[in-house]
Amino acid sequence: MSYTTQTQTSMEAAGESAGNEFLAFTLGREEYGIDILRVQEIRGYEPVTRIANAPDFIKGVVNLRGTIVPVVDMRIKFDLGTPTYDQFTVVIILNIGGRVVGMVVDSVSDVTTLTPEQIRPAPEIGTTFDTDYLIGLGTLDERMLILVDIDKLMSSAEMGLIEKLAA
């Protein structure tokens, strides 16, 4: 429930400044941010149906109100933290260009508004993500959010979620 209220307050804030809103989540000890507009909903982790011969980080597919949605575990993909599945494990359901994907993360913290000044370019080293998939680093008081270009990441061949068009 707290997500909703926070979203609303920060939406009001967004009306005043030209900043973008980001959903902050954690993977291991790192804190990440993605564009809130790509987030469809946040759910608890449910058992998935495994897909044979798929890479480890593709946990499988789940039934989301009648549609079949693949679930990827970012902790496995980027080797961050230990992939445990309990009642605190969170799945962020993303809607990217009409395609729905579930993303397993350790936890979701809040929605923050970042002004362009608060976003610094990402350094060439130091993150597990290829810098191609990063928007930059967001600073918020003492916190640092690694801002991920989730559209680009999820559509990438590396994730293998979408059939390559050339094929």
Partner: protein
Amino acid sequence: MTIDMSQFYQVFFDEADELLAEMEKLLLALDVSAPDSEDLNAIFRAAHSIKGGAATFAFTDITEVTHMLESLLDRIRKGEMALTPEHVDAFLVAKDVLTMQMDGHHHGSSVDQAAVDNVCQRLKALSQGIVADAPAAAASPSPAAAAPEPVAAPVMDADGNCRFRIELPEVPQKDVDALAAELGLLGTIEQETLDDKRAVFILTTGESQDNIVAICSFVLDPDDLKITYDAAPAAASAGAAPSTPVEDPGYGIFEPEKGSAVAPQASTPAADAAAAVPAGEVKNYGRRATDKEGASQESSSIRVSVEKVDQLINLVGELVITQAMIEQRIAALDPLHHERLLNSAGQLARNTRDLQEAVMSIRMMPMDYVFSRFPRMVRDLAAKLGKKVEFVTRGAATELDKGLIERIVDPLTHLVRNSVDHGIEMPDRRKANGKTEAGKLVLSAAHQGGNIVIEVSDDGGGLNRDRILAKAKAQGLPVSDAMPDADVWQLIFAPGFSTAEVVTDVSGRGVGMDVVKRNITAMGGTVDIRSIPGTGTTIAISLPLTLAILDGMSVKVGEEIYILPLGYVIESLQPAAVDVKEVAGQGKVVKVREEYLPLIPLYQIFAIDPRFEDPSQGIIVILESDGKKAALLVDSLVGQQQVVVKNLESNFRKVAGISGATILGDGGVSLILDVSALLRSSRQLNADPVFF
């Protein structure tokens, strides 16, 4: 073989109603000076579809009108004739007439034959390029019938009396006299007779129009009554010079020489003007009567968008999951203490199941629903064309989503008609070519891989490559002689393309294939043509299985459950250890009924930890696809159920060996095996699946 065609009438009426409404909408939106060719095509297609349907059900009167409408539209569409407002008017009148005819067939309401003839003549005149002359214009409701309408407010004379003009429909003379006597009590009454023997009263009274209607309704239906305010004396009493008709542009009924402001005289031209438009008026009455009858008959079916049904199915799916959750929770409760709760939960389970079944049944129908309307059509067509056709259907039990089934009807109708008309040759020609006199037309449906394939195939003359190319060139399509056959065949899907020498009532306008392609593409399917000159043509429609239901057998390997499409399953058994043999260390074969079948261990292909690796402990399912057999090794059989096929690729990519997914009763996802792919891999007889 007799088929009760009336079971399909409702579908035709529903469809035709929709098409007519669509046609009217397009006509009204049409810009006469610069008509959009797409719109013209759409109007034309609507007329064509109605004609096709009407012909199927032998509603010849509707066929006649639509045929004329279509011919005219076709000429306009091809630019042979410029579109004028007269055309649009005529089309709209034709649409009204069609609606009336449709109601006539549907509800048995009366059809005004005069209006029908009128429209036919008008359409004929227009298609012969004759500009609508006076009588034709009079038949149009817009100029003539509209004339009395602009009478605005009741105009009273000095005594507070109004003059009403009351036109009666055709009623016996004694009723007219009785009415005249009754109305005479209200004020002064004058009686006239129209050209078509109908009586007209001119009543000057202080009573309101409602009272007049109330009196008349003792004798006749008020809807058939036409009451207008006769403004003639009002204009006179207002002191307006009668010689200035400009003041009454809406009427056009005053003639200067009738200028003397005497009321009865002034009303005569009005009566004449009204008398000049009997055709339009008659049509009006007819329409009103049918409207009334139509409204009193409740529609027995409603058409709901597929989206809404989908939403319903998904919601019910959610409900089933929730119900399963409740069941799980209460399973742990002590039945003694919670007897009533458990009873209620049991009832909920039953109701949920019934609801799910009911909702699912909305969508699924056997192909028979479509196929069964063809034998009669083919028979009639063949008889009409003097051909002999043997009609065969296969796979009529294949179930298809209702949404798809309804949309496949039109394309299939066109294809079947084309096959009979163009494909199959005349008996003497067939004989000369060494074929049987009767042509064979096969309509078949089958699940194939992830698709349902519906084929219309005839053993007729095949497509004529040269003629198609010549015609394409004549139409200015980009073609070359070196094009591969498949590309040439696709040309017949271009709008307005037909190679038939004669445009017949049956087909040949080239509109059919255009519609076919359009409809199939809209459903996400493809149309393929295979044709061999002199041997026949097969048109294969392939539709995605996304919406289709599947009879599935669920099998378990390790902890995972997979669905096998039942159509591929021949049998399942537990083999004896001696029947399983190794082949050169590459893989295993199983001996089943004196036949060696390659063994496909599912656990190996999908990297699962099985309960049994030894085939003699597990179960083998014998599968057959494309004439090849193989034995699939699984741990156990779970059951047989109907599942709704969900697309895996809408949010994910294609997975080798998997054709789709489905949602199980507990809300979990189960994957549907792609049997053809599995069998292809088995040909290699080795442990490494080739498809990954």
